[in-house]
């Protein structure tokens, strides 16, 4: 049963990955006019243009280009940067750790903020604490990271001087970007924790636990939170994509040397193979994280029906 589900799920994920790759491949054909001309500028010699056209394979029929692109990806060959002439895969590997650290830190911050906020709101439902917590969450969803980031820089870096303004030097420089990126996730998560806790707190087993005279702390921590965690984990997986996309903007604000910053730099330099590779990497990660969440979900909760 589980094996069947796993195979089915893996198959559909593979299909989506193929679709993503095809769309990303087609992106270069969206460049208005001749992409080679856009990349090299109008003053380029025609010999250079032809050389680049050949290097990118743009002189071949589209179907053949697509096949070459797929084969390249299967061999981790994502082409060459037009400016630095270095392998794109090499550049991605250099930038990957910074983005990974940033996203994991943001996720941790989001969880640390959201859990107490959501639990408090659920336990003291309709009280002033609940209202305050949900108002904070609303504010968190509504503030875009390119507003949050400069605001945090202004207060904590420029006025108070507690953290560096930008760059990646040690632990202190991680705090502000991670907080910026984690805010929206924390807000969404705390609403989900509240909703999920409210549902669980009405269950019979909670009443049974209370009737047995367990402390409130015990009831909430062991019985309620554990069962409320499942939908929260799903949301966490689903929101991971938004987190990665948000990293593109956050990294630009804080000059954080990750994949997102590389992507924006490459857009400005019209280094399209890198742009394609960044989109591909981020989307692939997102699909794989979703796949993992789904599988985790079914193994964590025996009540989940597989179909």
């Amino acid at each position: 049963m589980f094996l069947n589900y796993l195979i089915k799920r893996l198959f559909s994920a593979a299909f989506v990955l193929l679709g993503i790759t095809t769309l990303v491949f087609l992106l270069i054909h969206l460049v208005p006019g001749d992409p080679v001309e856009v990349m090299l500028g109008e003053t380029a010699r025609s010999a250079d243009r032809e050389a680049l056209r050949q290097a990118l394979g743009l002189d071949l029929p589209v179907l053949q280009q697509w096949w070459q692109y797929l084969m390249g990806i299967a061999h981790f060959d994502l082409g060459e940067s037009l400016h630095s002439k270095r392998a794109v895969s090499q550049l991605l590997i250099e930038r990957l750790p910074a983005t990974a650290i940033l996203s994991i830190a943001s996720m941790l911050i989001a969880i640390i903020i959201a859990l107490p906020l959501g639990i408090m709101a659920a336990v003291y439902k309709d009280s002033i604490w609940d209202r305050l917590a949900m108002m904070t969450a609303m504010l968190g969803v509504s503030i875009p990271n390119f507003v949050m980031g400069p605001l945090l820089i202004l207060i904590f870096a420029l006025w108070l001087g507690w953290f560096p303004v930008s760059g990646k030097e040690g632990f202190a420089s991680l705090i502000l970007p991670a907080l910026t990126l984690g805010t929206a996730l924390a807000a969404i998560l705390s609403r989900m924790v509240r909703a999920s806790m409210l549902e669980v707190l009405q269950e019979d087993y909670i009443r049974a636990a209370r009737a047995r005279g367990l402390t409130e702390c015990h009831v909430l921590g062991l019985h309620a939170l554990r069962n409320a965690a499942l939908p929260v984990i799903t949301i966490l997986g689903m929101q991971f994509g938004a987190l990665l996309a948000g990293a593109v903007i956050t990294e630009t604000i804080f000059a954080w040397p990750g994949i997102g910053q590389l992507m924006i730099e490459s857009i400005q330099k019209r280094d399209y193979p890198i742009v394609q590779a960044c989109v591909l990497l981020i989307s692939f990660t997102y699909v794989l994280v979703n796949l993992l969440t789904d599988i985790l979900y079914t193994t964590l909760d025996p009540r989940v029906k597989l179909d």
Partner: protein
């Protein structure tokens, strides 16, 4: 809650009125005062001047115009396209429905605003390309919602009756299905509106949306970050403008959702 709703409605309408009447107001968003460069807010000019000596309040109002125009166009396009495709998919079923599901799944597999950034980047900077990029990304939510809602309704008795009476398909869709699936779609549109306002400002912040000298809240923040220590008002003014607009739309959406008593849709 009622007060909250009224205040957000008021702020929203205020932005809308300012945006609509911006061209007839005595504003000079591109006029440069060389003696007022980076001037802090005072009693004459509430929001001060930017690094080129342009009035920030005038640019803020023009920015509202940009932001709301883009949001209205993108949401309108996505609403009609998405609803149409979703309804068609669910109504026709079979092969066409499968096609729709595959396309929708594919677009959802791209996280958040990422595809819009890539599309806007490759199409080239500019407002029209930003609108195209955002529309390509936003229609999917409407299509998915319209499809699911239509599926729950298409076998109801009144639809069967209309079919038995020989009503043409498009009339059934417009008169018997669309009114019943409208409520969740309108709520989706509210949140999509907030999303597009943020996304447009985000693209402009990255330099991919509105091009200078035109004003957008996103590009104003981008310009302001360079002068944050000496002129924080350059970032604070557009920042709080975006926050106020988005917060009000979200509060409105929440109120609408409670009113129409729709179960919370899982957000992708």
């Amino acid at each position: 809650m009622k007060a909250c709703y009224n205040i957000s409605m008021f702020i929203l309408l205020a932005w809308l009125v300012l945006a609509v009447f911006a061209p007839v107001l005595p504003l000079h968003p591109d006029q440069i005062f060389l003696d007022k460069i980076l001037l802090s807010p005072d009693w004459q000019q509430w929001l001060g001047y930017d690094d080129l000596g342009r009035s920030i309040s005038a640019r803020l109002i023009m920015g509202a115009r940009t932001s709301l125009t883009v949001a209205i166009i993108v949401v309108a396009i996505s609403f009609f396209l998405g609803t149409f495709l979703g309804l068609m998919g669910a109504w026709l079923g079979g092969f066409w429905d499968k096609c729709l599901i595959i396309i929708v799944d594919l677009f959802i597999a791209f996280p958040g605003i990422l595809l819009a950034i890539a599309l806007a980047g490759l199409l080239g900077p500019g407002l029209i390309n930003a609108v195209i990029a955002l529309s390509i990304v936003s229609w999917v939510g409407f299509a998915r919602l319209a499809r699911v809602q239509t599926l729950t309704i298409k076998n109801r008795d009144h639809v069967n009756a209309a079919q038995a009476l020989g009503t043409p398909n498009f009339l059934i869709a417009i008169k018997h299905i669309l009114p019943l699936i409208m409520a969740p779609l309108i709520i989706e549109a509210t949140f999509a509106f907030a999303g597009v306002v943020i996304a447009e400002a985000g693209l402009s912040f990255l330099g991919l949306g509105v091009q200078p000298p035109d004003a957008s809240w996103g590009s104003m923040i981008r310009d302001g970050t360079r002068y944050m220590l000496i002129a924080p008002h350059m970032v604070l003014a557009p920042g709080f403008a975006i926050l106020s607009l988005v917060l009000c739309i979200n509060l409105l959406g929440d109120t609408l959702r409670d009113k129409m008593d729709i179960r919370e849709q899982p957000t992708a």
